[in-house]
Symmetry: C2
Subunit: 246 residues, 2 copies
């Protein structure tokens, strides 16, 4: 775990920046939240909760990456969400986890007990509004992923995933994805397969193919370099007019 220092008593210099409850808040507005929050850490690979477990807290991701997955009885697994720092876990008004949550890397959560969080929400409409915004964004992401899962080829799926990670990586540095950008893959081949609705062998083969054709470069097994982002973008099968939503 990183050496995060959790000393702040108000949101402005809170290092956590759990988007739902801290970003943009009025100074002093969230004193109660500050008082009821606490932290939990998980090792890479550890489960956070299992679907069906009782869950008496909601949380936001402080550091690390977690996944939301669903599993059929025969073991088939589908990842339904990827949780990055500032993402929200759990759902007000529900006491039972709907999905398996697993730490992919070492993970720190900033937790709030459910009950006080819910009454806080009642008193501070701002929190509910932020949560609504975030949930709508997640819904859009889920729907975009439905298109990927339902209609794209294995190759397009891989390209889509890489493009999404590259874009997200770039947005951390407040830039557009550019040529020559590189990043460390946070997921194993198997996790990628679970996200894309493929097998790990197919993931491996398609990554090899993209590499062979020079669309991506590999350093080791996990570091990806994208020499020409537009070329990768073409492989996703998406509209090329760069049409981001206004």
């Amino acid at each position: 775990m990183d050496d995060l220092k959790f000393t702040s008593k108000n949101c402005d210099d809170c290092p956590i920046r759990h988007r739902a409850v801290c970003a943009r808040c009025e100074p002093g507005e969230l004193t109660l939240l500050e008082e009821m929050k606490y932290y939990r850490s998980y090792e890479a690979g550890q489960p956070v909760v299992w679907a069906g477990d009782h869950m008496d807290f909601v949380a936001s991701v402080v550091a690390g990456i977690a996944t939301l997955t669903q599993t059929l009885e025969d073991g088939r697994t589908q990842m339904v969400g990827l949780l990055l720092p500032s993402d929200f876990v759990g759902r007000p008004g529900r006491t039972v986890a709907a999905y398996d949550v697993t730490a992919v890397t070492n993970l720190t959560l900033c937790c709030f007990r459910r009950k006080p969080f819910e009454s806080m929400m009642d008193e501070t409409p701002r929190i509910g509004q932020r949560l609504l915004e975030m949930t709508l964004d997640e819904l859009d992401a889920a729907r975009e992923w439905m298109l990927v899962l339902g209609r794209k080829t294995a190759r397009e799926k891989i390209a889509s995933l890489l493009a999404i990670i590259a874009r997200r990586e770039a947005s951390l540095h407040l830039t557009r994805p550019s040529n020559g950008s590189s990043f460390e893959l946070p997921l194993t081949r198997e996790s990628m397969a679970d996200y894309l609705g493929l097998t790990l062998e197919t993931v491996s083969r398609q990554i090899s193919a993209l590499k062979r054709e020079g669309i991506i470069q590999l350093e080791g097994k996990r570091k990806i370099i994208i020499p020409d982002f537009d070329r990768l973008q073409v492989e996703t099968g998406d509209d090329t007019d760069g049409g981001f939503l206004a």
Copy 2:
């Protein structure tokens, strides 16, 4: 179109029951909403909006069925949502439609101009709360569908769709899905294929197979009878312990 009579001036006897804004509201609380609402009708097959269009209203479905779809440039189509009466269309804070919305049957929407709706939301936290709940439900549905799209076989996909429709149908009559229940399919084979990430031929073949094996019965092409709901449930591949979320 049905002969709905839109005469009511408050929510209690409003025949519309747009869940987001009317259900459970305090009498008189939503007078402003009542004043700013208006209705639009669409014929079966008509587009409501195209992705990318400017959209100056939000709405809820009064009668009929609509679909949300996404399309790749080469024409591959994926349905990402099915809108039934009381479902909400559009999104506060966004002026551009993210998906194609199409009327499947004849359709009536109850619309609110965006601006007044948004200020109404600011003044009436209850509306935001309802919208958050609904959005979270939609998110769960989208994620459940990701599992269907990513990991289920064609046969399981069809069974899942039929089970969902049967359940929804039953809930309209406030019962659990029972043996011998029947319903009219609201979708063509092609729309089902778009929803399930299949081709219409595969949909047709799998429906024929389920019929041949007596798991479903057909009357005409659209009327489905389910002699034994548990047998259908088995075909979905889902957990059998009937585990609904608490």
